[in-house]
């Protein structure tokens, strides 16, 4: 380890066209750590080192060097490579807004007001009581459902017994003036779904709703799998090792809700897809050259999928009924797909660093998605609607998963 006790460390500054900002740093801190701690993107700066011995500053690839490593430097100038103010959107100097019921806060959310006229971004840390969270969710659910589901219609709603479905059912229960009839449905067949059934039953009882429980055997039949065959999750893990069951899980939920809707004679189904989920989905889509999938209302064959929580951040949803959310988190499996990890991580990074922006992205994508909605066509071989041509090897693998009815030996 370098002995730095007797010598002065170089000064580190970010040089922007809005001013020169000194950054603090310790001897053992790397330049990349100092940038990270101050929320300065490493890709946006060029590091120039000013020699103690004099002479011109020189460009230095040095993100991995600690300050102690800069023996002959008096100063490190990090030139921001665009003339924007990188600190304009810092949330650290937020103003705190107490909840309407101090002492009963369940969550908090950073609201950011972007004012084009003044060029300012103001941040507010709002402490939220469960009552405030429920008011927010009820307002957002009301906006979407009033626009997408006609008065008096039947709406089939997927529930898991977790915080999202609880908040969604609460929001729907506040729509008395719109007169829709809510039909909650829960699926069984994998352990975390099964674990949610008692909570979903309690919830539906609270809201005076009749819960339809679709047993594991019925769920398998949605994909044409014999009822007495190997469990779905085992089939999936055998055929698609290292992948995430959520992909098959969300398909099954859609198929189950569609079946329940057909049985009731209504086209409307709803799920608890939230703000982060919808941006994640459509960020993936535009990243891979696909146009956004229509939301908050999406026509898939003879059903219309409505996403009433599309403008609701998970943090606010969780604040509605905190206990239910925790139980739901405890029942989670890890996700391994690199893509799913990537798109969600990008969404959370955007939301955390620019809290006023994610909703703008969501609303822009929503407008775009509805201009020329994606069309889904019925795939005879799969027995449900898809958007794209399914590559033959993938189709074979999927069909193999469905037809692998014999229990594994041993």
């Amino acid at each position: 380890m370098t002995d730095t006790s007797s010598r002065e460390l170089p000064k580190v500054s970010v040089v922007t066209s809005h001013g020169r900002q000194l950054l603090s740093g310790g001897a053992d801190e790397r330049l990349i750590d100092i940038l990270g701690r101050n929320h300065v993107p490493w890709s946006a700066v060029a590091a120039y080192v000013v020699p103690k011995s004099g002479g011109d500053p020189r460009l230095s690839p040095s993100l991995d060097r600690t300050l102690a490593d800069f023996d002959d430097a008096s100063e490190i100038l990090l030139y921001f490579n665009r003339n924007v103010n990188p600190f304009n959107f810092s949330i650290e100097n937020f103003k705190t807004i107490e909840s309407d019921n101090p002492g009963s806060e369940a969550t908090e959310y950073v609201y950011q007001r972007l004012d084009n006229e003044t060029g300012l971004a103001e941040s507010f840390l709002k402490k939220l009581s469960p009552e405030e969270c429920r008011q927010i969710i009820a307002d957002r659910v009301g906006d979407t459902v009033r626009a997408a589901v006609p008065q008096g219609a039947d709406l089939v709603v997927g529930v898991s017994g977790g915080g999202d479905s609880n908040a969604l059912l609460y929001g729907l229960s506040q729509l008395a003036d719109h007169g829709i009839r809510v039909h909650p449905v829960i699926l069984k067949g994998i352990p975390d779904w099964d674990a949610g059934v008692p909570r979903a039953e309690a919830l539906c009882e609270k809201y005076g709703l009749e819960l339809t429980v679709m047993e594991a055997e019925e769920v398998k039949q949605l994909l044409g799998i014999p009822a007495d065959s190997v469990d779905l999750i085992d089939r999936f893990e055998r055929e698609f090792q290292g992948d995430d069951f959520e992909f098959l899980g969300t398909l099954l939920i859609r198929l189950a809700l569609s079946k329940a809707a057909r049985d009731l004679g209504t086209p409307y189904i709803a799920t608890g897809v939230n703000l982060e989920d919808i941006v994640c989905e459509n960020l993936y889509r535009v990243t891979t050259g696909l146009k956004p999938a229509s939301f908050p209302s999406r026509k898939i064959g003879d059903v219309t999928l409505v996403l009433p929580l599309w403008l609701c951040p998970k943090r606010i949803i969780d604040g509605c009924f905190p206990k239910y959310s925790l139980e739901n988190y405890d029942a989670r499996y890890p996700c391994f797909s690199l893509g799913r990890n990537l798109y969600y991580s990008v969404v959370y990074a955007m939301q955390s660093q620019f809290p006023g922006y994610l909703e703008q992205v969501a609303r822009g994508l929503s407008q775009l998605s509805q201009q020329d909605p994606v069309e889904y066509t019925y795939n005879e071989q799969l027995g449900f609607h898809v958007e794209r041509t399914v590559p033959f090897p993938l189709l074979r693998k999927f069909q193999k998963m469905l037809s692998g009815a014999q229990p594994a030996v041993g």
Binding site: H18, Q21, S90, N93, I97, L114, R363
Partner: protein, 70 residues
């Protein structure tokens, strides 16, 4: 023709990069505000889109790059 901004303002802005400033807030004081959730939600869920240029000039000039890159 450069009439919109005085030379004095231009040159003082140009020189900002050489001035030490506090762009990162230090010793953040606990400031408070009072605002209801409806007001907060109005700018979170229904606030105006932020144009790239303050005056929305990209509508006229944007064919080359809507966000002003040269």
């Amino acid at each position: 023709m450069r009439e919109a901004v005085s030379t004095a303002v231009q040159s003082s802005n140009f020189n900002l990069k050489n001035e030490l400033v506090e762009l990162i807030p230090s010793g953040v004081a606990a400031e408070r505000a009072v605002m209801g959730v409806r007001e907060l939600e109005a700018f979170r869920a229904a606030g105006s889109f932020v144009p790239a240029s303050k005056h929305g000039l990209e509508v006229i000039t944007g064919a080359s790059c809507e966000t002003g890159a040269q």
